[in-house]
Symmetry: C2
Subunit: 135 residues, 2 copies
Amino acid sequence: MTLRRRIHRFRLDLQSGVPVYRQIIDQVRGGIASGALEIGDQLPTVRQLAVDLSINPNTVVRAYRELELGGLLETHQGTGTFISAQKPKSGGAERERQLTQIVGDCVSRAGAAGFTVENLIEQLRELIAERHQRR
Amino acid sequence: MTLRRRIHRFRLDLQSGVPVYRQIIDQVRGGIASGALEIGDQLPTVRQLAVDLSINPNTVVRAYRELELGGLLETHQGTGTFISAQKPKSGGAERERQLTQIVGDCVSRAGAAGFTVENLIEQLRELIAERHQRR
DNA sequence: CTCAATGTACTAGTATACTAGTACATTGTC
DNA sequence: GACAATGTACTAGTATACTAGTACATTGAG
């Protein structure tokens, strides 16, 4: 099997106060969202990434596990960790709650910065517009 | 001075794991963003809110202080805590960048959970609708 | 079967986040 | 000035988040 080792370039920002495992999670998510990581791509091995970032393997494990629980990764013991085919798992009420949470956080942050809900909607609209232009 | 005591109805969600002080912060921010709280409105006093929520006054203080540092509140010792006149501190391009950042994060999270930008907009719309109903 | 490479499980130390207890300072009214 | 109402400061206990240490299990190639 020819592995596509299009491995993401991870980098940590100590000083930021953001937990290491969370930075890894965010970078994988970002990689997927941006298309830098595609379904089937293999991530660095637990040990390899631990060495690269000079952290403990278990910290990598924690990040990978959380991503797997979210359905973004598949781990196969002895083989490696891969970007999985995406399946929106939780359904119904739980899913609704999740969306409410995300939007709530966003509104909260925006409100603190002096933005209104209308500002948010407008910004999202622009995203859609850009998306259409790019096609 | 006739105080407009249009006091936000706070409610805590223990079980959620979200720190109490953060829940307070989010609810104030949300109240401002949604228009439920307006400039000059007085918030519950530190002691009053502590009693209402059955928490320690210092927990309320922590929330209020963080909000004040963010410029959303003004506290006057002996008088009370009020929604401050909002000063969009960073201006122009920086401000635009800030909004882009917030929305970007939100979209990223939503995307990882399988939601679309349209889902977000719809959810925000519902927030506005709720606001109008309550008046 | 053997072995190297991979992920996994269990434990534990340390920092810090969160909340609470208690006493103090400031303001405005009378 | 007295007093009631408000915010403030300092301390400390407890939970838990985060990371690390160490040993084990699974996989696939040869």
